[in-house]
């Protein structure tokens, strides 16, 4: 017979040792959310290129769908059950509560499995995580959006935001560069962005083919086509690290303050919550302190680029 | 009856290693019956030269994937005798338990996965999993118990890690031993089920007078060390193993042949049974009686039954050994030693029969010469001559080519040959 005087009962809250720094046990739901994701149905799959598709996800539970909110620039941990998680930036409009859109390139085993999944299948998302583009701070200013390759994916959320609040911003420019014409994504939306959102848009490719009639060269060449006051301009630059490095230094020379240029960093992430430390850049977490950083901070981060 | 046919089996299946059977019949008469081992030789006796005695058992373990614990212990016994090391009693008991695990799991593997499909006319155990799930389940339980005994005592069931010169590098915890005891109790019904199942099978009726060789120490059923004895009355000291084996080469086999008083001799479960029947525990004796198995039995197919009898023996003994260990401190498991020059033989009863390792060391403790004689090597000649007799008997009984072929492969499998082992 166990001596009950000395037995610790199961699940006994043993609070004293925390000495005044007791975590908030009552808000259990908040603790829980971080590890159990929102179950989503893949409602639509839009092929963009041989390796890129847009996945439209709908959170299954109506209450959860209502609660789910994000800001432009934030990312999700997308779980494909059995295969694991991958961090993916959200590519849809913040005002769209019906669907989440993720633009995904087939790269690792998680995304490969997702590409096999059928429309109607269920996946799960955790989040949103991370910092966002400071859309409020940019109000009343010009906005320069520069995207390279798959960098157009995180750029869609701020584009949608600007469309929803177009009167709050002055001139909006979108420069989009790709390696080859076939790698140019979302071409079907170009007209909408220009006509409806009143965005001045230019595209460029590095390696043109016969079909390409537009400009070719480096993306910075497009900057000459517009005139704007750099002191009154904010920039968002998304693309591979090499690209944003030279674009940002170009913008710096043009006179845009470094703390008004924003970039989105990518690292391997395992938790999204600032615990696993896989995404550390210097002493900062890409998942908590990023992925959106102003260029001044990135310059000061060790190993950022 | 004028029939001509050849039975030509290349790479016999459901045995460990590569062996071929050739039977030739011309005008109804047997003209050739051959058992040829075509395994690639590995030259263990050459590669071991210059290896430290401490490491040598880890190398000889790799002679065989099924009976690695026996090989390790044979080398350890040879080297300990050569360098005059006496391991502590606790280590001796734990080593014995390790060996029991190996024998149990090897017998279970043979009985259920390699031999049973023949009796049930299946190509492998996989369809039997569907047709006789409870029997396969019982077999898996016994095999798992064997593996669990080995894993608890020496870290791993294939290529043990903690069997070392001078004793053991690590003793099992009492907790692990208690778990094993529970497992043994759970396995007893499975063993009964297995025995009942095998009683429903009919073994071919075939007898050829054979000399059976095994260890014998007069005190308990043999496993590690003892006198070398034969059913023809030969008794030799462990170190005089060469007088028991008399190895010779044939031109059709990469494995050597052996002989003693007759043309050929046999080792294995049946040999142990025939030489040590009196030392069996009552439970094992009862199991043998259920099959009508009595010493000296000359039907090689009965080796299957002898293995099953040994499973009974092992499970009883393992339980006793664990009780002994539970009463022990389990601290005194290893003695230190100084390398020295010497030579000696270590003989153990591997699952498939008597196994000899002979080792010679220099004063730095390096192995300078080694000789390993494997049970299957000692059975090759017997298999070869059995095949001849069996084929003749089948022809005399008017059996078809297919029936003869099936009998032949069943005969070879009954010996549970470990061919890669025999070509080491």
């Amino acid at each position: 017979m166990p001596d009950m005087r000395f037995t610790i009962p199961e699940q006994n809250l043993n609070l004293e040792p925390f000495a005044g720094r007791i975590p908030d046990f009552q808000k259990k739901s908040e603790v829980m959310i971080t590890d159990k994701g929102y179950k989503c149905r893949i409602t639509n799959i839009v092929p963009l290129s041989s390796h890129e598709r847009v996945f439209q996800l709908r959170i299954v539970d109506p209450l959860e769908r209502e609660v789910f909110n994000f800001r432009p620039g934030q990312f999700l941990m997308l779980e494909v059950p059995g295969y694991g998680e991958a961090p993916i930036s959200i590519s849809s409009s913040t005002s769209n509560h019906e669907f989440i859109e993720l633009c995904i390139r087939k790269a690792g085993h998680v995304t490969s499995a997702l590409f096999e999944a059928r429309q109607g299948a269920f996946v799960s998302v955790r989040g949103p995580f991370g910092t966002a583009f400071p859309m409020a701070e940019m109000q009343g200013k010009n906005v320069l959006l520069i995207a390279g390759g798959l960098g157009i994916a995180p750029m869609r959320a701020p584009l949608f935001w600007i469309n929803d609040h177009r009167d709050r911003y002055k001139e909006v420019f979108l420069l989009y560069g790709a390696k080859e014409p076939s790698q140019m994504l979302f071409t079907y939306q170009f007209e909408e962005w220009q006509k409806v959102s009143h965005v001045q848009m230019r595209t460029i490719v590095e390696k043109p083919d016969q079909s390409w009639t537009g400009r070719s060269g480096m993306i910075t060449a497009l900057l000459d086509e517009f005139s704007f006051n750099p002191k009154e301009t904010y920039a968002i630059v998304c693309g591979p690290p090499v690209m944003f490095k030279f674009v940002c230094s170009h913008l710096d020379r043009m006179g845009i303050p470094m703390n008004r240029m924003f970039v989105s960093l990518e690292r391997r992430m395992h938790c999204g919550m600032g615990k696993c430390c896989r995404c550390m850049v210097g002493s900062t977490f890409t998942c908590l302190d990023g992925p959106v950083f102003d260029y001044w901070s990135v310059m000061n981060l060790k190993e950022a680029i | 009856m004028n029939v001509d046919f050849n039975i030509d089996i290349r790479h016999l299946t459901r045995v460990e290693g590569h062996g071929n059977i050739h039977i030739a019949v011309r005008e109804g008469r047997l003209t050739e019956a051959k058992w040829a081992v075509i395994e690639t030789p590995r030259f263990f006796e050459a590669m071991i030269k210059g290896i430290s005695a401490e490491r040598a058992p880890f190398l000889t373990s790799r002679i065989c994937g099924i009976c690695s614990i026996s090989h390790t212990l044979a080398s350890i016994r040879a080297l300990e005798r050569a360098m005059e090391i006496t391991p502590p009693e606790t280590a001796r008991i734990i080593r014995l338990l390790a060996m029991h695990g190996e024998t149990l799991s090897s017998h279970a593997l043979h009985l259920f996965f390699l031999a049973a499909p023949d009796f049930l006319n299946a190509p492998s155990a996989l369809p039997i999993m569907q047709s006789h799930p409870e029997i396969v389940q019982a077999g898996l339980m016994l095999k798992e118990l064997g593996n669990a005994l080995s894993i608890a005592t020496c870290g791993r069931c294939t290529h043990p890690v903690s069997l070392v010169l001078g004793g053991l590098s690590k003793a099992p915890s009492k907790q692990r031993l208690l778990e094993l005891k529970t497992k043994i109790a759970e396995c007893r019904p499975a063993l009964e089920k297995t025995t009942a199942f095998f009683r429903t099978l009919t073994l071919p009726d075939f007898v050829r007078e054979t000399e059976f060789i095994s260890l014998h120490d007069g005190k308990s059923y043999p496993y590690i060390g003892g006198d070398l004895v034969s059913t023809d009355g030969v008794v030799r000291d462990e170190n005089d193993y060469l007088e028991m084996t008399n190895e010779y080469l044939t031109d059709f086999s990469t494995s050597k042949f052996t002989k003693l008083s007759r043309q050929s001799s046999a080792a294995g479960s049946l040999a142990r049974f025939n030489n040590n029947y009196d030392l069996l525990l009552p439970g094992a004796k009862a199991a043998a009686a259920a099959f009508g198995l009595e010493p000296v039995c000359h039907n090689p197919f009965m080796n299957n039954v002898a293995q099953l009898v040994e499973c009974h023996q092992i499970i009883e003994e393992a339980d006793t050994l664990i009780n002994w260990l539970l009463d022990d401190e389990l601290r005194d498991i290893r003695v230190s030693y100084k390398p020295k020059a010497g030579s000696a033989t270590g003989a153990v009863e591997a699952p498939r029969g008597i196994l000899y390792h002979h080792m010679e060391t220099d004063d730095e403790g390096k192995v300078i010469k080694a000789d390993c004689i494997i049970p299957t090597t000692q059975n090759n000649a017997n298999i070869h001559y059995d095949l001849h007799a069996l084929a003749e008997q089948a022809l005399a009984e008017g059996k078809s080519e297919q029936e003869t072929e099936k009998l032949c492969v069943m005969l070879v499998r009954s010996y549970d040959p470990c061919i890669s082992c025999s070509v080491h």
Partner: protein
């Protein structure tokens, strides 16, 4: 906090009573090293007799009782065209005996990371609240430097703390549960002499530290020395074997893996303690490795420990137990690395730059 004094025999009786009824772990000698010194670990115990109360320090820390080396985060059960996710983070009550002040401080640091950040970890919390911690003070080993990190004393985070004052233990009782257990045993109110003995004991411990590391200003140093050749020098020694992180009481970096069940009827998401010293820690999908060199990875561990990361208020997370230094086969220890770094910086300042006052 309530203070009592208990005789050592009575204390053993108390430990005996509670370990018999609960899942308990205490320091145990597991081996003797080839240098003749005993090697201790926190092992499961069933009676007070199995515990080495006068142990020095365990080889591995008590971290894995809170952050297991492998931990199941969730399980998916698959059905036809659908799945369900199950999350379970319940932990059984566990008693930990004999933790040193630095060990308890380490757990307090882990509390900051795991419970006070943006996303409190329910897995950690479940274990933390179900662990009953009995701390014990000790005289430092020659290579302990917890005094330098100011982690040689502890005033919260435990249920009960025992200071050795000769024939008795001076108890700091920090939980009602501990108090109700102890009520069944003979306790004395601390006398004036007991209080003096406690103060003496503390002084004694404080003055026994032989290893000192100057850590003030280290965060700044580390930022400045980010590209220092020092890292390459120590990196060349580093085996990148992860031993330091495994034995460390505060290293918590992990890796998340998802595995299918063998019957393919479900899958399990696990986290797995990792180390920033391991070769693929900063490798991303596609193969690029942000820290391919041993030195870069070693630097990260020091960066994390002595500079601190933003997520835990930039505090230094090293507690000075020197387990990493003792376990390191390549003979890398914080004292030598930090001294090297400091030397480099100071010699550099004096030789290369003229003092500002002279310009």
């Amino acid at each position: 906090m309530i203070y009592k004094v208990i005789s050592k025999t009575e204390f053993r009786a108390f430990i005996d009573a509670i370990v018999k009824e609960n899942r308990a772990y205490g320091p145990q000698k597991v081996d003797t090293g080839s240098n003749g010194k005993p090697i201790y670990q926190f092992m499961p115990v069933k009676s007070a007799a199995e515990i080495d109360f006068d142990y020095t320090v365990t080889h591995s820390s008590a971290k894995h009782f809170f952050l297991p080396y492998r931990d199941e985060l969730s399980h998916f059960n698959f059905t036809d065209g659908n799945w369900e996710q199950e999350v379970n983070y319940e932990a059984p009550p566990t008693i930990l005996i004999g933790l040193r002040p630095c060990d308890i401080n380490a757990i307090n640091i882990l509390d900051d990371v795991m419970l006070h950040g943006a996303y409190p970890s329910p897995y950690y919390l479940a274990r933390r609240k179900n662990n009953f911690i009995i701390g014990m003070d000790h005289l430092p080993l020659p290579d302990c430097f917890c005094h330098s990190m100011n982690r040689h004393t502890v005033n919260h985070g435990f249920n009960l703390f025992c200071s050795d004052i000769g024939e008795s233990y001076y108890l700091s009782i920090n939980s009602s549960k501990a108090y109700s257990f102890l009520k069944e045993f003979e306790l004395q109110e601390p006398t004036y002499e007991d209080n003096c003995r406690l103060i003496e004991r503390r002084k004694d411990i404080k003055h026994s530290f032989e290893t000192k590391i100057e850590v003030s200003g280290l965060p700044c140093f580390l930022d400045i020395e980010f590209d220092s050749p020092i890292w390459q020098k120590w990196g060349d020694k580093c085996l990148s074997c992860g031993t330091c992180a495994m034995v460390c009481p505060t290293c918590y970096c992990y890796s998340v893996e998802e595995r299918f069940d063998i019957d393919l009827e479900g899958s399990t998401r696990q986290n797995h303690l990792y180390s920033c010293n391991l070769v693929d820690f900063a490798q991303v999908t596609g193969g690029h490795n942000f820290r391919p060199k041993n030195g870069d990875r070693l630097k990260y561990r020091y960066y994390h420990h002595y500079r601190g990361f933003a997520a835990n208020d930039n505090q230094q997370i090293c507690v000075g137990c020197n387990r990493c230094g003792r376990a390191c086969l390549a003979d890398i220890n914080p004292k030598d690395v930090i001294n090297d770094l400091r030397l480099e910086r100071e010699s550099c300042l004096t030789c290369v730059l003229p003092s500002p006052s002279k310009t």
